[in-house]
């Protein structure tokens, strides 16, 4: 082996390394600086008694913020509310999403148009979704009161956002309206990929509609439903925008979920340490649910690579 060849091997190795650096480094710097570093910094802050109103005084207090959270009734009720919000909205979204996807799989006139419309709630900015529903729920002039009383379903105008549980359910409805299309479109994409021949063969074998759904459709869309479930739960756990816009966490804290509680402590009470600790609870919650998803992604990555 001549020395020339060895040199070119080394230089091509170096060249490859340079190319990798050139292509990857800018993104990695951005992601590290804007994501990883803040995340670590956030954990450090959560160990401090860090109040913005007392600049310069940030004593280290270990896990006290976490302990304080766990012994605070409002934190615990916010945690339960978050789980309730996520569990119910996601379940409804997936059942509805499946139903609508199956509906849009049928042949009917104007199907392309209706399929196109489904994307509308997804595309709407969260803010517009929020003010839209806040306006619809308005106690004095809201369209919901006008509609229901016009139909004779209610005798007097209702305070949809005036009572904790009812306000929570109103916000949840607005969230379901906006989030269901994601499920519809993703399930529909899978349904479109199922070969018509499978159904034909089942029909020949005498399978009825329910059996075809149960033994062909359902097993094939199951993986997508699993993905949807995990991803949507994680999104729902971190929901903030809609709560802030429609109810500001009220009335009487009735719609305060963990994200809003963290915001409240950090940016209204300036307790940055405590707020960071709360947000770490959200991270842990999201990760517990997200890990199976990450593992399945990792597996599929390994297969492709």
């Amino acid at each position: 082996m001549g020395s020339g060849k060895g040199n070119s091997l080394i230089s091509s190795f170096e060249k490859k390394r340079n190319v990798i650096l050139l292509l990857l480094l800018p993104s990695m710097v951005l992601i590290f600086g804007l994501l990883i570093y803040p995340l670590i910094y956030s954990f450090y802050i959560s160990l401090l008694d860090f109040n913005l109103t007392r600049p310069g005084v940030t004593p280290f207090i270990g896990l006290n913020n976490y302990i304080q959270a766990l012994s605070d009734g409002f934190f615990l009720s916010s945690l339960l509310r978050t789980i309730y919000f996520a569990g119910v909205t996601v379940s409804v979204e997936i059942v509805l999403g499946l139903a609508v996807a199956l509906l849009l799989k049928q042949k009917f006139r104007g199907r392309g148009l209706v399929r196109g419309l489904v994307i509308l709630p997804w595309a709407l900015p969260t803010v517009v979704n929020g003010i839209m529903w806040k306006w619809i729920y308005n106690a004095n002039y809201g369209a919901l009161n006008a509609l229901l009383s016009g139909m004779g379903l209610i005798d007097s105008y209702q305070l949809w956002l005036g009572e904790p549980m009812r306000a929570l359910h109103s916000v949840m409805f607005a969230n379901i309206w906006k989030e269901t299309p994601v499920g519809v479109l993703m399930i529909l994409a899978v349904l479109e990929g199922i070969s018509e021949e499978l159904y034909e063969a089942a029909r020949v074998d005498g399978a009825n509609t329910w059996q075809r759904f149960r033994y062909i459709t359902l097993p094939l869309i199951k993986p997508m439903i699993g993905v949807l479930f995990v991803i949507k739960i994680v999104w729902a756990i971190r929901e903030f925008d809609l709560i802030y816009i429609v109810t500001r966490g009220g009335p009487a804290g009735g719609t305060t979920v963990l994200s809003y509680l963290a915001y409240l402590n950090g940016f209204k009470f300036f307790k940055m340490g405590y707020a960071s600790a709360i947000s770490y609870f959200i991270i842990v919650l999201a990760m517990i649910i997200g890990i199976p998803y990450i593992i399945s992604i990792a597996r599929s990555q390994k297969e492709v690579v």
Partner: protein
Amino acid sequence: MTAASNKNLISFLLYFAVGLLVVVILAPYLWLFISSISTKRDLTTIPLRWFPPEPTFENYSRLLLGGTGATDAASQFGRCALNSLIVASMVTLISVFFGSLSAYCLTRINFKGRSTLSFTIIIPQLLPPVALIIPLYLIVRRLGLLDTRFALVMTYTSFILPLVIWLMIGHFRSIPPDIEEAARIDGCSRIGALFRVVLPLVAPGIAATFIFAFIIAWNEFFYALIFSSTQSSKTLSVLVEEFSSKFGEDYVLMSTAGVLASLPPVALALVFQRYIVQGLTAGSVKG
């Protein structure tokens, strides 16, 4: 019951369900639009006037052509729309440029730790923004960058860049490596092959990712709420929220601002629907 009438019943139920779906999707948004062309009086009469006797587009011209005085919410509209446009475009350009290069690297060049790195890119999608906002706020404040568009561009990039990398990995994978190999045998350098051969082929994927990222950046609310306070960086999302809380209860102007702010993402999504579905299914990502 005969088979024919059975079939009719099913067809009736099908169209009924479709009709119901269309109403549920359209009605709330349509009501926002009707509110925007009504007068305050139409909206505050009981029983409610479902359609204004004299529709007016006066509020649209008020918002788009500017109002009087700097304290007037309406006069801020143009400035905030510009902020939204600049921030969303910058974030999208930066993310798509650097994200495409990285995604190329992660799909085409073999190196140690590549597969680990490619799937960890999805993890940021699981992180709650509220967990990042406190450290980012403290950093941005220390750098004196509060209430600047630059702060918004950087913080949006933190979650849009990983998303773009993830989507672009999918698009690069769909291009057979042979084409690139052929170009390199013909004497192209790796970077040369990337720009001359691979990028043109992956252009539709880049366009899809671009639109997807732009919509998400345009719709962002949380970071803008925390970081911007005046017209120098306030985005439309924040302004529209202020219409519903800060500036009294002007439902008509609020609805008008809402409709206008939603037009770019809604129009993009309706026109490029195929791209959006692609993005959603490939990335399983939050909009």
